[in-house]
Structure formats: C-alpha cells, structure tokens
C-alpha cells in the first residue's frame, strides 16, 4: 500500500503564498515593537502639538475619553472575546482608582508604579469574586458582579475610614522625583501611552492561544473542552485580565480628575459606568478592539460636546443616556454582534462565494499524519502493553430513563473498534461518559491503565483522547485555520504570562503550530482557503476538517461519533479506506460509533453492539453476525 496516509508531497500545492509573505513582513513581534514606538513617541508629541488648537476643555474631555477607552478594551476582552457578562466593571474601575490614589498620595509612589498596583489590586478582586461564578456555566458572573458593584457603592465606598467617603482620595500625578504632570495635555499624552500599551496587550491576547481559547469558549464550552481548553480556568483568566485592565482604566481616570470619591463612579443620576462600558462595547462591536476604542471616544466626546454646547442641565443633555440605552437594546435585537459584527457579515458574504465554489462530492482526501512536535509537552508516558481504553460497568440515568446500564468495553492499541446499535441505544451518551463530557452514575474509565473517571473533559483531551461530535465539534464561526490552531491548544508550549508579552518563545510556538496547520490544510485540499469560516463549508467538508483537527495532537485514542452521517455517497464510501489508513499506515487506535453497518463490519477489528443501554455482544464482525440476538436487535423479532 502506498504512503497514502502520509502527507503526499506531490499533491500539495505551493504553500499559500500570501500567508507566508504577510508573515515575513509584519510578524506579531515586529508590529508590537512598532506599536510601542508609535505610542510612546509619535502619538504623544502629535497630540501635544494639536492640543493648543482646541478649545480649553477638550484636553480634559479627551483624557477622560482615553481612560474610558481603556475601560472599554477591558470589558471587550471579557464580553467580546470570552462571552461572559460583567456588570461590575464600574466598581472595578473604582477599585483601581482608589488603589492608585492610596498608592500615590498615601504611599507617595509615582504614577508609573501606581498604575500596575491598581492593576494588581483589581485583578485580585476579580479573582476572588470570579472564582465562585466561573466554575459554572451560565450568567452567574453577571449576578456576582452586579451584587459586587452594589456592595461597593453602597458600603465600601461610603466607609469613611477606609476610602475617605465623600471627600475621597486624591491622586498625585508624580512621574519621578518632583516632576508632576500639571497640564491636561500632558495627562492626555500619558493616557494615550497607556491606551497603546493596553491595545498591545489585547492584540497579544488575540493572537495567542489565550484569544483562541476565549473565542472557543464563547462559541461552545463543550467544544473548547474537547480541544483541551481548561474552560473554568480560562474564563477566570479572562475576568482577571479584564479586571486588571479595568483597574488601570480607573486609575487613569482618577489621575485625570485628581480625585476619586464615593460619587465618582456612582453618579446619583445618569448612566452607571458599568452600563456605559457595556453599551460602548456592544454597540461598538463585540470582539473588535478598534470598535470598542472608537465607540468609547465617540460616546464620551458626544456627551461632552452636548454638555458643553447645551449645558448639563439642558433637555438635550438629559437625552443622551436614554439614547444610549435605546441603542443598546436595538443593536442587540437586530445585530447581536454590534457594528463590527455587521462589517464582519459583509466580509463573510464575499468568502461565501469562494467556499461554495468547491462543494461537489469527492472522495475523502487522505488525512495528514502529524507526529507530535518535539517542543510540545508530552503527556505522562502511556503504558504500551495495556489496552488504550477500558470501560467498566458505566451507568448513566436521566430521571427515570436509564441511558447506559452497566456498559463495559475495551479498545486495544492499534485497533479499530466499532460501537453500533439502534438509535437511542445510548451510544453517544456512552461516548460522552468516556470523553468526560458527562459524569456517569457508576463505573470506571481507564485510559492506558490510568483511571480517568474523575478527570474533566479537557484533562482527558490533554492525556491524548481526541473525539469528534455528531453535530461537528468545531468553532463554526471561526476559520479553518483558527480551528486547526485551536486544536493544537495542548501543544502550545508557553504559559499565559508569556502570551501577554508575546515573547520570542510564543512567536516560535505559534509559527510552528501555524506551519503544521497550513500543511494539514493543504494536504486536505483546502489550500488557499484557510480563512474560510467553517460554517460555510458543506457537512462532509466540515467533518474532514474536524477529523483532521482531532489528529493534530497525535492522540492515543481517536473517538469518532458517526463520522459518515450526512456525508455525500462518494465521500462516505472512501471513509472506509481512510479509516484503514489511520490504523495501518499511521498506527492509530480508533473507537467509532456508526450506523453504517456494512462499513463497520468491513473496517472494524472488533464490534460492540449496544441496545437499550446495555452491551448486548462484543467480538469480531463474524462473531457478531453469528449472534442471533444482535441480528434481532437490528431487524426486530421475526414474526412467525
């Protein structure tokens, strides 16, 4: 047999040229450096020159707008990327402002120390209040943050001894030695520097495994978990980063106003800051940095200009918060992804034509064999002599329904094992118990001899268990490339703090993963279409991408849930060959659920038959066929 399973060099077109060229010119690290130069030098000096040209209160307004923009970035990270709602960001701004105030006037520290301290304190508070909520799925973070905000305003900030109550804490804009920033124009410059750094941080998040993990979580937590993402931890990380950045925004705000007191972030009338930031992020565009920053400036300046022109007591000024809330409701009702989402939709429409171009029914391409790169961490050594999977007496009930009733099975290394049975027999439920998506009511699951029954789905994925889903377990709004990078999550050899700085190590790891992904994509015949959102592919194409993603981590066990469902006939027929390649040329171990009985009988080394939650029989295909009960389970009792 030819090396059909290994990437065929002859079939591979030239690696997508534009991708490599784009990378060569402006790598993430180079753009980071460029951004720092821009922010630290160019922007401040330009604004400094421009300020005298504007009427007197504008530098103040712009400085305030800048801190709101940083706040918007912080909320965007949480809501737009990770899909979690916080209604306490106003309170976190306050925490940052107070921390900076105490640092600068209380401890006499300079501004550039006070800001990181603010970040630390807010981040810590976020960690404490986020932890109980983010272990669970749902709107619990919103509940905790709104309660936190309430307690902050009504209790902590009123507490004179601690926070100075209504007289508040002052902030001293000391840079170094005795140098104090006096003009608002200079403060604006300082603010812009901070904004640029925040932007930098945000882009590092987006470009690294952090951003990918967040986006996956936002789309579907089970899918993210199946790719090895520790969902609880990442949700908490998103909230902590968001909280820390909000603290910086609050500190900046405080420095701009020289003072923070109990009324600063809690105006007696008008829009609460938590709500303002939410409006900005949602209307400006969820998940878009530029959208959030632009919307922040627009909203702040709009409010300022109206107030300046018409007076803050005027009718028109009072209309501003009403308009803002209305915009929030309407945006969400018509375009859940805000302005940026609308633009994205238009871009996708163009891509749709490119994707649809090749929607015919072909044979399934050879799946790329991707050995694990040396740099990637290896899971604990797998005991080679033991079966890859041992399932013992697993049971799962839902109320009065017994979905799985004491099922046991075994998968040895290098086998293809099939799991068949009528609809509703419990096959997918059993799969979910094996992969960790469900906790069974009884029984154990052993993976190469190791008891994984207590481990979560992402932990089992990390040990080398890859699975596919009946409904295609990919982040469908993301591109093929994104999904292939996400699939390599466990292989990314760097931690969160390195990701934030986008160190050389991060760049190297990302390049490696990208190269593997591009190679796999080309081998599958999708070369040149890496950026197409998965949603636009046909069912069969999506399945191919999904299986390829599952292979990218060089898994010990590949679990496929009805891979042929919805495939066009020619592709479904070639599936058998591809499965055989997996076993024979790549030495993989596969457990598969299938309804396509002839396929299973042809390809599998052993087959288990599940009916009404129980394993009716297990053995080679011939043994199964010789089992009268099995045949009856499928065909029904013959009557007379």
């Amino acid at each position: 047999m030819s090396a059909a399973g290994i990437v065929d060099a002859g079939r591979q077109p030239a690696a997508a040229p534009h991708a490599t060229q784009r990378r060569a010119l402006l790598t993430p690290r180079r753009s980071n450096i460029l951004l720092v130069l821009l922010g630290a030098i160019l922007l401040p000096s330009v604004t400094y020159r421009a300020m005298p040209l504007l009427p007197s209160r504008y530098p103040l307004a712009l400085a305030v707008a800048t801190s709101i923009a940083v706040g918007a970035l912080s909320l965007n990270l949480l809501v737009g990327y990770a899909g979690q709602i916080s209604l306490g960001h106003g309170a976190l701004l306050g925490v940052g402002a107070y921390a900076a105030g105490l640092a600068s006037s209380g401890a006499g520290l300079p501004m550039w120390l006070a800001l990181p301290i603010a970040a630390l304190v807010s981040g810590l508070i976020a960690l404490i209040i986020g932890f109980p909520a983010l272990r669970l799925r749902g709107l619990y973070l919103a509940i905790v943050t709104v309660t936190f905000g309430f307690a902050m305003y009504n209790f902590v900030l009123q507490w004179n001894a601690f926070t100075g109550g209504s007289s508040g804490v002052s902030l001293v804009r000391r840079l170094w030695g005795k140098t104090i920033i006096t003009s608002q124009a200079d403060m604006l410059s300082a603010g812009l520097v901070v904004l640029v750094l925040a932007w930098l941080l945000d882009s590092n998040v987006t470009r690294s495994k952090l951003g990918r993990a967040f986006r996956a979580i936002r789309e579907s937590e089970p899918v993210a978990g199946s790719f090895g993402v520790d969902v609880s931890r990442y949700k908490l990380l998103a909230f902590v980063l968001s909280g820390a950045l909000a603290g910086v925004a609050g500190a900046l705000y405080g420095f701009t106003l020289y003072l923070v007191n109990s009324e600063t972030f809690n105006p007696p009338v008008g829009v609460d800051y938590s709500l303002l930031l939410l409006i900005i992020v949602v209307v400006g565009g969820l998940g878009s940095r530029a959208g959030a920053v632009i919307a922040a400036f627009v909203f702040s300046l709009f409010e300022f200009i109206i107030g300046d022109r018409f007076g803050s007591d005027s009718i028109i000024y009072g209309l501003v918060p009403i308009l803002g809330s209305l915009m929030l409701m309407l945006t969400v009702a018509r375009h859940p992804d805000g302005m940026a989402g609308m633009l994205r939709e238009r871009r996708h429409r163009r891509r749709r034509r490119a994707a649809a171009a090749d929607d015919g029914d072909h044979a399934m391409p050879a799946l790329p064999s991707m050995p694990r790169p040396e740099t990637a961490a290896r899971p604990l050594a797998m005991e080679r002599s033991l079966p890859v999977l041992e399932v013992e007496s697993v049971s799962m009930r839902f109320g009065g329904l017994v979905a799985v009733d004491g099922a046991s099975l075994r998968v040895d290394r290098g086998e293809i094992v099939g799991l068949i049975g009528p609809n509703g027999a419990g096959k997918t439920t059993l799969f979910n118990c094996i992969s960790g998506l469900l906790r069974p009511d009884g029984g154990t699951v052993r993976f190469s001899g190791r008891d994984v029954s207590a481990l979560s789905a992402h932990e089992r994925a990390g040990l080398g268990l890859s699975r596919t889903f009946q409904q295609i377990g990919l982040a469908k709004d993301q591109s093929i490339l994104e999904n292939m990078l996400l699939a390599q999550h466990v292989l990314a050899g760097y931690g969160s703090s390195s990701a934030l700085l986008y160190t050389a190590g991060v760049a190297r790891s990302e390049d490696e993963m990208r190269a593997r992904a591009v190679q796999a994509i080309a081998a599958l015949g999708f070369g040149g279409r890496e950026d197409v959102p998965v949603r636009l592919l046909s069912g069969g194409q999506q399945r191919i991408v999904e299986v390829a993603c599952a292979l990218l981590t060089d898994p010990e066990l590949l679990m496929l849930d009805e891979p042929s469902a919805g495939m066009a006939p020619v592709m479904a027929e070639s599936l058998a060959d591809r499965l055989r390649d997996l076993r024979d040329s790549m030495g993989r171990t596969v457990l598969l659920i299938e309804h396509n009985v002839p396929l299973v009988l042809d390809v599998c080394d052993r087959v288990y038959v599940l009916t009404a939650g129980r394993v009716l029989a297990g053995g080679t295909p011939d043994e199964i066929l010789a089992h009268p009960e099995v045949v009856n389970a499928y065909l029904g009792e013959a009557v007379a």
Partner: protein, 295 residues
Amino acid sequence: MIQGLIVGLVQGGTYGLIALGLVLCYRGSRVLNFAQAEIGTASLFIAWIVVGAWHHPYWMGALAAIVSALVIGLLFERLIVRRMETASRLTVAVATIGLFGFLVAVEAYANGPTPRYLPPPIKGLGPQIAGVYVSWTQILTYAVIAVVALGLTFFLRRTDFGLGVLASAQDATAARLVGIPQNRVSMFTWGVAAVLSALAALLIEPTITLIAPNTIGPQLFLGGLAAALLGGLTSLSGALVGGLLVGVLSAEATQLAPNGVAGVYTVVLFAIVIGVLLLRPQGLLGRPPARAESA
C-alpha cells in the same frame, strides 16, 4: 430583633415577588431579566403622578402603576424578546440590561432631581407584637404577598393555561407540538413578571419612603436576585422562601450594624450570593446548574 424581623419580612416578601418574576423569566425564556425591579420603579413614578401630582386616591395610583408596568413588560416582550427567539441567551440578557438603563434614564429625565414619595395605602399603627407596633400598611403587605403567591401557584398548577406555562418552561418544543400557543405563554411570562415588579415596588415604597432613580430599584433587584439564587433559579417556591430569608437576614444585619456605616445589608447580599455559589449552586430548591465545559 423583632423590629428587624417585621421589617425584614415585609422587605423579604417584596424581594420574593421580584424573585418570582426573575424565576418566571428564567424558566420561561431562559433569560435573566435585569430590568425586573426597574419596571416596578418606573411604574412608581406613574403612581406618584396620579396620586401626588393629580391628587387622586391611592388605589388609582396603584392601579395606574400596575397597568403601566404591564404595558412596559408586554411591549418589551413583543418588540424585543420575541424578535430574539433564536439569539443567544446572553444577548437577550444584555437587552434587558438595556431596558434597565433606558428606564433609569427616562425616570431621571422626566422626573428631574426631586425625589418623590407616596402616602401610605393605609395609615396608622395596628396591633403590637412583642412590644413592637406593626403598621396596617405592613399587614396589608403581608396579605398582598400571600394572595399573590397563592394565586399564582393555583393558577399555574390548576388551570390549563397555567399548566401550559409550566410545560412550556420545561420543553417549549413539545409544548408547541401539543398545541400550546407559545406567543401567549411568552406574553404571560413577561406580563406577570412586570406586574410582580410593580407590586413589589408599591409594597416596599413605604419602608424606603423615597422614589428616586437608583434608590428603590437596585435594592429591590439585588434583594430579589439574591433571593432567587438562594431559592434556586428554577424554583418558584424557592423564590418566595429565598426572599423571606434574604429580607430577614439583611434587616437584622442593618439593625445590628454600628451606626455610621450605612448599607451593611449590601454586604450581606453579596455574602449570600458568593456563599450559595460556593457551597450549593442550586440553592435550596433548585436544580443543579451545568459545570463549565460539561454537556
């Protein structure tokens, strides 16, 4: 102590009403309604206009409040919730946040900075319990809450439409396939939630004696939220029980707090929320929520 108990039961009862509304919206539309208390607060301003500005009797003001709340709730359901049937629950929750902000802004705009107040529905002090006077208004409050709770329970469990509402909350698809009109169920859910909000606001106003943006609303909402969480977000009876517990706990905390530190009860609310999530996320009577990354 007793004083705290009496006040706590009144406030707790109103928190329970808000919690009932929250649970209804959560079970019916799987949405956390962040405007649950603000609808009631906005309707209080209408009540004030009728009673305070136009000098009509109290009951007319109360009626006006209930009707205006109903209108807000039904409008929101028709224009926003129904249009977002296929949107993620997160975005619908954000829409309710928008409604909240909208109502607060309109209240501030239309009313201006002057705080308002309503005269109590019934004047005068009633009987004494353990040396503490209970006002007639407070007794009326207990009565209304009891009637509402019993009435709602009866309606949901005994009437066809009520059963249909419960069934739709469990499985909306099956309910449709059986012929239960989902549009009407949705209107009922949001309409009743709005009316509960108005009732809660009317009943708590005598203890706070102030109608202004950001005074009654947040307290009611957060009390109701903590109550719903404590009772279990999916349990109607839990909502009431949770409300009473939260009310009594926070009232006692306020009584016991040293002077000069206002707002201690907010810390109690926060502690309850964190406590429930850490120790027993399903609350007293609810169903356990899904863990992150589980099926």
